[in-house]
Symmetry: none
Subunit: 247 residues, 2 copies
DNA sequence: CCCGGGCCTGACGCCACCGTGAAGCTTGTT
DNA sequence: AACAAGCTTCACGGTGGCGTCAGGCCCGGG
């Protein structure tokens, strides 16, 4: 891969808009230290946590250990070839999205990519933005939550797809963070959830505010959704433990 | 993913993958056995059932017999050429979506494809994800478009087929990009759509502008289509999330 | 061949909104 | 009663969204 001075075609500024703070960990497998570093920075500034490996063998080990949400994989690797790593990973975790980095010549044959089982690819030189976009798209696909899209209780109904909450048919405005919190609670109804777990799942590993912040959001949710916010029925406090949502 | 052998144990929201699997059958016409196999695997892991044929003649037979929901067709085929197969199928079933696989050189001109009657095409080398996306799009398109090419709200009426927008009976001029954006939003009405998703779907990966660009186009659409652009009713902002179109 | 207009893109500044955490009060537990 | 944990208010700072503007590219006309 060293044929190119830099894999980036442009140094344009990257997306300034981290839509929903991603919480996933990404495994980057790339032997060129410079590119590796660049990729790490790219993803980390976007809120992902990054694990890097330089060769196929350690990549496979690392993959087993760290359970990443997605893999970015250079095809040209020392020791174990990138193709083999790709196949290996796909045979273990078929639904784990893999985005392949490759020189144009590597993928001149369409057979290759398909057989590898890679989900998507980017040819060098590539724009950081494009890579980012493809990784996001890959993640979005697997993260699609066709779970339950509509939940109702009391006079409240929630539509997760529309991001809409109604009360007595009247729309209730929730902020993004409130909605995410609510969603997590609903999906884990009847279970006691500690503040720390909420911070992990809803806020992500990157930004880790104080546990007081959680209280505040619970407060908001109670004010907006409970009949009597001062004696909550759905958003219950479990003293010394955390919160529990019950329908 | 395997039921017990899953190497990942996360405390995260468990995704039991109850994905609503598509039920369609897809006819894959491809002479290279390796590619054929890979394509089969690709679609089958996505929940489609797959029928494969290696040459044009048997493809036509198979098509008659199995009535697939979509066709994936390699242009380079032995015996009967892919183009002829395409034309033939389209003459029998005009609304059956066909996605063509072709070398870049084959499709110097998109007009050719139109003549063929293909709905979409992917040039080699292509990413599996992209092919999947296009097939899905093709299926979605024909599935949800019985004849509803015209959408109306307020004093606005849109004709997607004619690419015409009217307001109070007066034609409104939308640029190509504006129209595409509008169309995507309308087709995904009531759903919150992130800027990134819009960029992916409307702009594509190749030219991946900044998310600011999306804002600008929304702005234009509001100016042209909202009664009061400063307090939009249809093109709604969802803070920290993206946009949502409601009729 | 040059010119001009339309469209896409992205920069900048303004503003509203929302997340955050401190502080004081209340509730619950022992 | 005393201490710990939770609740609520409030103010601040950051982030995201909007709208205007300017530069660049492409296409069509002169």
């Amino acid at each position: 891969m060293g044929s190119l001075a830099t894999p980036f075609v442009t140094s344009r500024t990257v997306n300034p808009t981290p839509v929903v703070k991603p919480t996933g960990r990404i495994l980057v497998v790339e032997d060129d230290p410079a590119v590796q570093k660049a990729l790490r920075r790219l993803f980390e500034t976007e809120g992902y946590s990054v694990e890097t490996q330089s060769d196929g063998k350690s990549a496979l080990d690392s993959f087993q250990a760290s359970a990443p949400a997605a893999v970015v994989l250079d095809l040209r690797l020392p020791k174990v070839s990138g193709s083999d790593v790709c196949k290996e990973i796909k045979s273990i975790a078929p639904s784990l999205p893999i985005v392949v980095l490759s020189a144009a010549s590597d993928v001149s044959d369409k057979v290759l990519l398909l057989e590898l089982g890679a989900d998507d690819y980017v040819t060098k030189p590539f724009s950081p933005r494009e890579l980012l976009a493809r990784v996001r798209a890959a993640l979005r696909h697997t993260a699609r939550t066709p779970d339950v899209q509509v939940v109702s209780f009391d006079d409240i109904s929630v539509d997760f797809k529309k991001m809409e909450v109604k009360r007595d048919g009247q729309p209730v405005i929730l902020t993004a963070q409130e909605f995410k919190t609510f969603q997590f609670l609903v999906r884990n109804a009847d279970r006691v959830i500690s503040r720390d777990e909420l911070l992990n799942e809803v806020w992500g590993y990157q930004n880790y505010p104080s546990t007081r912040t959680v209280d505040n959001h619970i407060l908001k949710l109670r004010q907006k959704l409970e009949k009597d916010p001062s004696s909550p029925v759905h958003f219950r406090t479990v003293h010394g433990m955390g919160y529990k949502f019950v329908r």
